[in-house]
Symmetry: C2
Subunit: 197 residues, 2 copies
């Protein structure tokens, strides 16, 4: 990774990481490149050495989250996907939890995007594609007879991935539960249910 | 409701409603009382006629959400609460969905609070109390034998109310599902599970 000219010790990835943290803490609109420079102890021109604009930082941060989630979903719905729809859905849930835990700040930023800028509009478009694929996978799992058919698949998909997405709000990496434990409890809750049998 | 002196047609509730909408759209920190006045076509002094400060607007908006949620939870865990823990938990889920749908903008604002100001710190404290009561109710429903005991109750509570809270991100009042439909599908998913039996 390239080092900043202004000061050694800050590379592009570190600047991006701090930018995401600031955007999440203060809001994207309320954060200026000057704020970011101040937080890092750099000059604004040192930031602009790495990134063309604040928009560019947002674009890269959102791509970090979107590329990972797109890979997970594409593998589950693409031509090369193997196995039943339910098995693939359960695997998407598991891997989505992993992505959210590993990329929590970037996914948090992604989930708060409201479409105020062209970069945000493009991110929302990619999120919509993901949502559609997930709803299709739920429909397929109902159609193959694995999932109950008395609930609207689109609503089920919203609830299921709403539960997954809620992780960004409460998950703490230093807390009691690691990603596999969360993924297992989430899948058990959603697919098997909480009632004792 | 009091009418603003500056211009007829805007009352206190309407100003607050627009403030919450702006805070959600642009972020609290990025929104000034001047922005709010401009959005409403009022003068800043007309706003200050109704509200002491921007902080005061935030406090009232968060209280709107917190008071409703506190009432729902208090009735389920208080001394006068009747019935088993599982029945009360299921009722809390149902009524929480109703509150989220009826107060979606205020709850959205509440769920984004990060503790940057004393008003936010106080709101986070009240949220934490709610979370603790809900986790206690899940524990009680496990202890009475209604819910499975192979998952950590605290994690189950996070997932369950994470699914409820996710509503603010995707629910559309003009969409295909009303509050009772969402509440029923959510309870069916979480308690009974999605697998066909």
């Amino acid at each position: 990774m390239r080092r900043g000219r202004g000061r050694p010790g800050y590379d592009q990835a570190a600047v991006l990481r701090t930018a995401v943290e600031l955007f999440n803490r203060r809001g994207y609109d309320a954060t200026s490149v000057g704020d970011l420079a101040k937080e890092l102890g750099l000059t604004k021109s040192a930031i602009y050495h790495h990134f063309a604009s604040k928009d560019d930082l947002l674009r890269l941060a959102l791509a970090d989250a979107l590329d990972e989630l797109t890979e997970v979903v594409s593998e589950a719905v693409g031509d090369a996907a193997e196995g039943g729809a339910y098995d693939r859905l359960r695997e998407v849930v598991r891997r989505s939890v992993e992505v959210l835990v590993a990329h929590q700040p970037a996914v948090t930023l992604l989930l708060r995007v409201r479409g105020n800028t062209p970069v945000e509009v493009e991110a929302l478009k990619r999120r919509r594609w993901l949502d559609e694929q997930l709803a299709g996978l739920v429909r397929a799992a109902v159609a193959e007879g694995a999932l109950r058919d008395d609930l609207p698949p689109e609503l089920v998909s919203r609830l299921l991935f709403g539960m997954v997405n809620s992780l960004v709000e409460w998950y703490r990496p230093d807390g009691a539960f690691d990603a596999p434990a969360v993924a297992a409890a989430l899948a058990a809750t959603a697919f098997d249910g909480l009632l004792r049998r």
